[in-house]
């Protein structure tokens, strides 16, 4: 069987989290890079806390799903990819967009529905997009992004270029037909894609083992003779390492693979979810193994970070988020008049001649 569980020993579920000794920082890692991962994680944390606040202030509408608690998963995933690689995600994607390099201002402006948002205010929280950063979209129909991402991998293979596609999804997604159809397609066509399953133990309120006949989700890849790994989603370096391995497999061998990151969301499914279906104790334990605090402790133990450094990073992240809110607030909405002027142009892409200015 090709399915492996290289890092299964590292993986844990929320109930056992916090009881294990933190692994040391591997030797040979560059300090600046490590501190940047830490900064990214703190930035995502602050951004999401601010998003929740802006939601309660009605600056953000619709649904709003946060990456709180998943920062190590988010940053490890993004750091394992190259700038030219393509990323698809589900609707819990603010952090991924930021970690991909989209400015927090453009993300916050999108949440505010402003023209300066990364999807020009047309997508909102669940539909962030930025072609320049090869962030190919947040998708809000569970599983909808998986065939699309598989198609970009198909196009990469068709053109013989060396990019990798990484397709993030939640645990519940692995029960959809789109998931299974896509894994099969990727394997038969040998596509350079990583399916990245964030197992935060619940699909909305349904526990993974209630919704999935196989609750170790990485095992599902074996049906497609596809290599897969389960990794501790609280460990940014473990996630990064696994993504790098998967990316190399895709880039060099044109083989798809699946990575399951076991993570934990600190709050409910969305901002408005009171989270009544999870035990208080389970949530407390999950929050106690905060991936940011744990990474800080590891960096400190390695002598790479001190209290001052932590404070400085916190402040810098807070400033960046405040600036993002200011930018979003001050940005204009697209005028209704302008919107109404060309509805067809809103919906349909111009033809080639028009694109070329003919």
């Amino acid at each position: 069987m090709d399915t492996t569980s290289k890092q299964q020993a590292d993986a844990r579920d929320a109930t056992s989290a916090g009881e294990q000794a933190l692994p040391p920082i591997p030797e040979g890692e560059d300090r600046e890079t490590l501190l940047d991962y830490y900064y990214q994680m703190v930035l995502v944390r602050h951004f999401e806390e601010k998003s929740a606040e802006m939601y309660t202030k009605a600056k953000i509408g619709g649904y709003c799903h946060l990456n709180l608690g998943e920062e190590a998963t988010v940053v490890g995933f993004s750091a394992g990819l190259e700038p030219a690689d393509y990323v698809y995600t589900n609707y819990r994607e603010h952090g991924y967009a930021i970690a991909r390099g989209i400015s927090p201002g453009a993300v916050m402006a999108e949440l505010f529905g402003k023209e300066t948002g990364c999807s020009h205010g047309r997508g909102g929280s669940m539909h962030l997009f930025d072609l320049q950063h090869r962030f190919m979209g947040g998708y809000a129909i569970v599983g909808g992004q998986i065939p699309l991402a598989t198609g970009v991998a198909f196009a990469v293979a068709y053109r013989g270029s060396r990019e990798v596609v990484a397709c993030q999804m939640g645990d519940g997604t692995t029960n959809t037909g789109a998931f299974h159809e896509s894994l099969n397609l990727a394997k038969i066509y040998h596509l350079p894609i990583i399916y990245f399953v964030v197992n935060n133990l619940y699909g909305m309120g349904l526990r993974v083992e209630q919704g999935s006949a196989v609750s170790e989700l990485y095992r599902k890849a074996c049906a497609y003779d596809m290599q897969s790994w389960r990794v501790d989603g609280n460990d940014v370096l473990a996630v990064l390492d696994t993504i790098r391995t998967a990316a190399a497999l895709a880039r060099e061998k044109h083989e798809p693979s699946l990575v399951e990151a076991v993570s934990f969301r600190f709050r409910g499914h969305s901002v408005v979810d009171p989270d009544r279906y999870r035990d208080k104790e389970e949530v407390q334990k999950g929050r106690a193994s905060d991936p940011i605090a744990e990474f800080a402790a590891r960096l400190m133990a390695a002598g790479l970070l001190d209290e001052n450094g932590t404070r400085e990073i916190e402040e810098r992240a807070q400033q960046e988020v405040d600036a993002a809110v200011k930018f979003a607030d001050e940005s204009p909405f697209l005028s209704v008049e302008e919107f109404m002027r060309d509805l067809s142009g809103y919906v349909y892409a111009p033809d080639e001649a028009a694109v070329k200015g003919a």
Partner: protein, 339 residues
């Protein structure tokens, strides 16, 4: 101009687009090794190889989504869905994704995708293999829907669809594949969103598309000879966008309209056109708009019942006879001359 079948027109159109643009590729169930359930793609695997003519497993949502993703990177996939009935399995990728991505992400990413699929009944394939679901797609902003009735239009619209930067549902019909017509061989293109008056007339207008447009033309020619009725036939060719101008111009001239469609009557193409006519040409209408469509049942297998269910020439003739005599009341002719 050579006379070719509708099937040959599609085949030639696909082949020419494959030759023209390296970004064009075909994918679908049984299109390569098996050469297509209806042999539209016969010979193309041999000529272009498995990279350009791709067999897929039976996974409509998966491979339609995969084609949409490939289009996001600028490839120009032409998907074949074996029959329109199977497209239902791919509705999420078509309606929620292919149709939305350009607008929802702020115009950053066009989807140059064509999905070809035949609809239609009459072959005793029963309820799940005989549907006309074009309205599902014509309803959705972000999609374009074309439904050619002749080999020339099939080829011309296929070329245009492949070069369009938006998802196009290209509706074919099983009963049209063997029909013949003249088709130009030079780079002939038919614009999307342009109907065609296939026969001029003054007494009433029959508006139709796909196979029923061909039936309508036959009926109109016959009734002109046999009943001295001057019937105008408009082949819509595109359902979205709909060529309102051609529709309205015709009905403003004839003052009577029948919409002739193979799909179910309720909420159908006829309902849309009747609404358009009452909104935009109310004062030009001398009679209510008539809809001639199929009976609203899942299509039975039994031949007599299938025939009774599907609309066709007879139903159109009846409707024309019902609508046309009303006009004669305004004419100062002897009642004995009436049909």
């Amino acid at each position: 101009m050579a006379e070719i079948t509708y099937r040959q027109a599609l085949h030639d159109g696909l082949r020419e687009e494959l030759l023209r643009d390296e970004n064009v590729f075909l994918l679908g169930e049984e299109i390569a090794v098996f050469e297509g359930s209806y042999k539209i793609t016969a010979g193309l695997l041999k000529e272009f190889g498995p990279k350009r003519v791709v067999d897929t497993p039976i996974a409509e949502n998966g491979f339609v989504g995969m084609a949409t993703g490939a289009a996001m990177l600028g490839l120009r996939p032409i998907v074949e869905i074996m029959t329109i009935n199977f497209i239902v399995l791919a509705m999420d990728e078509i309606v929620n994704h292919a149709a939305k991505i350009y607008a929802m992400f702020g115009g950053q990413c066009p989807i140059p995708l064509v999905i070809r699929t035949p609809g239609g009944g009459g072959q005793q394939l029963a309820a799940t293999h005989s549907q006309n679901l074009e309205v599902w797609f014509a309803h959705v902003p972000g999609l374009k829907v074309v439904a050619p009735s002749t080999p020339a239009d099939a080829k011309g619209l296929l070329r245009t669809s492949v070069r369009d930067n938006n998802p196009v549902i290209f509706l074919e019909n099983l009963a049209l594949y063997n029909t013949k017509g003249e088709a130009p061989t030079d780079g002939y293109m038919v614009p999307i969103g342009q109907a065609k008056v296939t026969k001029e007339g003054t007494d009433l207008t029959v508006l139709s598309y796909s196979r029923m447009a061909a039936v309508a033309l036959d009926v109109a020619r016959r009734m002109e000879q046999e009943n001295q009725l001057s019937i105008e036939v408009v082949d819509l060719r595109s359902l979205r966008p709909l060529d309102q101008e051609t529709i309205l111009n015709s009905v403003r001239k004839t003052n009577r309209a029948i919409v002739f469609e193979e799909d179910w009557r309720s909420f159908g193409i006829g309902a849309e056109i009747a609404a358009l006519l009452q909104e935009e040409a109310f004062d030009d209408l001398d009679a209510p708009v008539k809809r001639v469509a199929s009976l609203e049942v899942p299509l039975p297998y039994s031949k007599p019942l299938e025939l009774a269910t599907l609309t066709g020439a007879k139903q159109l003739v009846d409707a024309i006879k019902e609508l046309a005599p009303r006009r004669s009341r305004h004419l100062s002719v002897s009642p004995t001359l009436l049909p």
